[in-house]
């Protein structure tokens, strides 16, 4: 039996973040402003919108980038 599969999967399990380190993702994120506004209207809830410009990379705040 080749043990490499289980060894790699063990290292994956250690490397995958869990628990409190994922607290950022407990916020009620919507993927974009349009989706947030649709949900806001439907659920009668306010929207908190963060606008970020970064000339070096148009990355996603929602995915943990700054």
């Amino acid at each position: 039996m080749d043990t490499r599969l289980s060894e790699i999967e063990k290292r994956f399990a250690t490397a995958r973040p869990k628990g409190a380190s994922l607290a950022f993702y407990t916020m009620d994120w919507a993927p974009d402003l349009a989706a947030a506004q649709v949900r806001g209207k439907k659920e009668r809830r306010p929207v908190f919108f963060i606008l970020v410009t970064n000339v070096s990379a148009a990355t996603s705040f929602y995915q943990g980038h700054c």
Partner: protein
């Protein structure tokens, strides 16, 4: 800070410059009357009907706080409390909310990037990237009948997300991705392993370079989609403005196929 944002549906828009704003974002930005054409970060509160109730530019100056994350966090809480003052915000749901992670609706990979401690206290939140299986990528990861060699170009969609945040002088990409990989079927098992050691060179001024082992365990359960799990680990240098290396920071990526 998360407690303060609990009543809200939270969303963001990221672009290289304001001129890239899509129409819906531009409309909100203009209603916020923040002015200027070089806003780095701005906050807005919209009512459930989409009306802009408040707009502001937070004070975010790590240098002012001497990179003290606790001080920066406390000040951001103070700023948000001021920002929300006198707004009629509904109370937050009482039940704790489980993390909802960035995901894809089709098949592909989700990648978690975590980083070791560092002097400027960056990277405290894991970055989560997603990679949709293109037909080419799906074919690449089809169950191999024999060992095959792959080059970095074939794995570019996976390697391209192994990018540390907060690289201030790059353009978010790579000058070069190199390395060779082995995809090896395991005898007697519906499984394979992919191993290799890519070298990644960022497109920043210092051509930040890092390399390390990448490994994936691939399982091909009969009648079910591929499941793959694996890691990439490396140390990357962070440079001072004078080009000297200030420190090295560990980068760990955890790959998992989606849907699970």
């Amino acid at each position: 800070m998360l407690e303060l944002l609990k009543p809200f549906i939270v969303t963001s828009w990221n672009g290289r410059r304001l001129s890239e704003m899509p129409a819906g974002v531009k409309k909100v930005f203009e209603k916020g009357r923040l002015g200027g054409d070089n806003v780095n970060i701005a906050f807005f509160v919209l009512s459930s009907e989409g009306e802009v109730l408040r707009a502001g530019i937070p004070f975010v100056q790590p240098g002012y706080f001497r990179m003290d994350s606790a001080a920066m966090g406390a000040d951001m809480v103070r700023q948000l409390k001021d920002f929300f003052k006198d707004l009629d915000i509904p109370s937050a749901p009482k039940a704790p909310r489980e993390p909802v992670l960035p995901d894809i609706t089709t098949s592909g990979f989700r990648v978690f990037l975590t980083f070791g401690s560092n002097k400027i206290n960056h990277y405290r939140t894991p970055v989560i990237e997603t990679i949709v299986f293109t037909p080419e990528l799906a074919a690449l990861f089809a169950r191999p009948k024999a060992t095959k060699m792959l080059d970095a170009a074939a794995l570019k969609p996976l390697l391209s997300v192994l990018y540390p945040p907060a690289v201030m002088d790059g353009m978010g990409g790579f000058r070069k991705l190199t390395g060779s990989f082995t995809l090896e079927p395991l005898p007697g098992e519906a499984a394979a392993v992919l191993t290799g050691a890519p070298t990644l060179i960022l497109d920043d001024r210092n051509a930040t370079t890092y390399t390390g082992p990448l490994e994936l365990a691939l399982r091909y359960p009969p009648g079910k989609p591929l499941t793959a799990r694996g890691t990439f680990t490396a140390l990357f240098p962070r440079f001072r403005p004078d080009g000297e290396i200030a420190e090295t920071v560990s980068l760990t990526a955890a790959f998992e196929t989606r849907p699970a």
